[in-house]
Symmetry: C2
Subunit: 371 residues, 2 copies
């Protein structure tokens, strides 16, 4: 969403978005916007999804309309969260809560402490609070919980995760495509020994990113990457990277399955092995979390835009609430490989955006050259 | 709370905390713990507060007991949040949500987008969801909202903020004491030109930190600090610091009212003024957010422990729910000045903790020496 910061007295208060702004952003008529927010009114599912995504990203609040929309409902969405010390997860939660708020839904937080036994929100509680839907943010969906929600008639949307069976709607970044892009970038940069730092082992994100990375390396004629698991956790990541870098033939290119683990990797490389990150070792993350852009971090990372992901998830939730029989959807939000100082650059394939970011856009795929 | 990360299959699952662990941590008997979790049972308010704080920080879940505790209630606490891109706010929200969860209360999130008009959660909604209490995290309490909640009988606790009238319970870090310590540290380090980067102008935190900083500088015989406002926002902070550093006599010591603004200050000093932070300019923050410890940031900062603050807030909420007539309490959680590379060190007064952190513990107060 656009950043608005007008707490200071006297600061200019931006005009709140109107129905016309939403119509323009969604590329539909005003009456289509109005119909999209009126339960029972005819609106094509695709149109409604576009309108809700635009409304969420603009922060449009159809207050009275939204309130009357679903009077038989609790207006509550159970949202599970985990590891808010990971800045990307915090951004995603903020974008989701604001997006739900914009269409009159309220976030009921189920924080996950990290023990697998506690990973599912309590179904008892979900039923007691009569939540309209469940959104799982970066947490695993157990088949038991999925079946319980289905039999209770509570729709579930996964954000930044997918379920194995495909029966649950999901919104993710471009896990496979992004990881492939990273592999191609590192091959083009002339690296020799590749490594992958996995997240939690049963995370679909980590699995998909590992697959994309290993597939693209193989296709370029490169060696299979070394592998260790950092479990999306700082301490576990430090330990895994320490072991990798102490090996006789340490990697010169390390792809970490998210930025949070890449921060730990940078710390270990610098502080314990005295390596110049971006010169003696290249480290790449996934998320493009806010910390990645800081001067002392300067992390190359494949982006996942939290506002776009949250907007799609809000639209998916609204769609399934309007039509409970709607089949599951799986949405992939595109990202970009944002190039900074933590990884050696290829000679070609770079582009600078109008807002000053440098991207790697690739080109002809490079082949791995054996040392 | 202790970090537990056992998502990986086969990882050792730590034993969940027992009533005995809580009793030991709180320094009370097991039966006192049990009484503290039983509504109507006799437990001294001080004891109950200690027990609930210990339970929250250990992640103790008295499931069945907690559920039966307050059957006439909704078990919902409305929690307002703002700026989760600030890692300290995200940590505080996580600790609070886990602490509430541990005593059977559920977090209903009211995200604040940043426009002052939207700063109060909607009282309509709070009443409609029949929330038991309201916790405002790092957001301003308007006197209108405060009066509305009082007349509706909904208790309010402020976290990381205080209200002007003192009638609303609050939990804060040691704003005045921490800022005084920072001033003494910078004077002892031989700095000459001091500056303060304020947050949102009507924030009690920013006001209290400014007061402590200016008072201690004056008492040491130093000059009044320069001043600019960064409004707790990255873009506004960058602009304010850019202007300060471009002045004919730029500061050599900059205290930012929180770490989030200090990150922006470090970026501007390095990237736009090519300054060696910690040598040519000293930059100090407040929060000791997780980012402060990263190798490329290495920010000296006065700590606010989120788990301890959340634990006290949960105890305050539980106490007021048990006894609505309880007078407002104002708690200050102690912190430490954690010394890293972003500020020049004084010759004396440093100490190293058993976990390897370096603190400035001061000693004889230094006097400012004019250049």
């Amino acid at each position: 969403m656009p950043r608005r910061d007008t707490d200071q007295p006297g600061a200019r208060v931006p005009r709140p978005p109107t129905i016309a702004d939403v119509a323009a952003a969604a590329g539909v008529s005003r009456s289509a916007v109005s119909r999209s927010f009126t339960e029972g009114a005819s609106a094509a599912p695709g149109t409604r999804a576009k309108v809700l995504a635009a409304a969420a990203s603009l922060g449009y609040r159809p207050s009275a309309i939204a309130r009357s929309l679903t009077t038989r409902r609790s207006h509550l969405v159970a949202v599970s969260t985990v590891r808010l010390e990971n800045g990307f997860n915090a951004s995603l939660l903020q974008a989701l809560a604001l997006g739900l708020d914009a269409i009159g839904l309220r976030t009921l937080l189920f924080p996950i402490a990290g023990t697998s036994a506690d990973a599912d929100p309590s179904l008892d509680e979900i039923l007691r609070h009569r939540v309209d839907a469940v959104a799982l943010l970066a947490t695993r969906l157990s088949s038991r919980f999925s079946a319980q929600c289905a039999s209770a008639g509570v729709p579930v949307v996964l954000i930044n995760r997918t379920a194995r069976d495909g029966a649950t709607s999901s919104v993710t970044g471009d896990n496979v495509g992004g990881a492939r892009r990273i592999a191609e970038f590192l091959v083009a940069g002339g690296h020799r020994r590749f490594a992958f730092l996995a997240g939690v082992e049963d995370s679909s994100n980590s699995r998909d990113r590992e697959r994309g990375f290993a597939d693209a390396l193989r296709e370029a004629g490169g060696p299979a990457p070394l592998r260790a698991a950092g479990r999306f956790d700082r301490v576990a990541s430090s330990k895994a990277v320490r072991r990798m870098l102490a090996a006789p033939e340490p990697p010169d290119a390390l792809f970490c399955a998210n930025d949070h683990m890449a921060l730990a990797a940078i710390d270990v490389a610098r502080r314990e092995f005295n390596l110049a990150v971006g010169h003696q070792i290249s480290i790449v993350g996934f998320d493009d979390a806010p910390t990645a852009a800081l001067s002392g971090i300067d992390l190359t990372s494949f982006s996942q835009p939290p506002e776009a992901m949250a907007g799609r998830a809000v639209a998916a939730l609204a769609a399934v609430l309007a039509d409970p029989a709607r089949p599951a959807v799986h949405e992939t939000v595109a990202g970009e490989l944002v190039v900074r100082g933590s990884a050696r650059l290829p000679a070609a394939g770079l582009a600078t955006t109008t807002d000053g970011r440098r991207l790697w856009v690739g080109g002809a795929v490079s082949s791995f050259r054996a040392p």
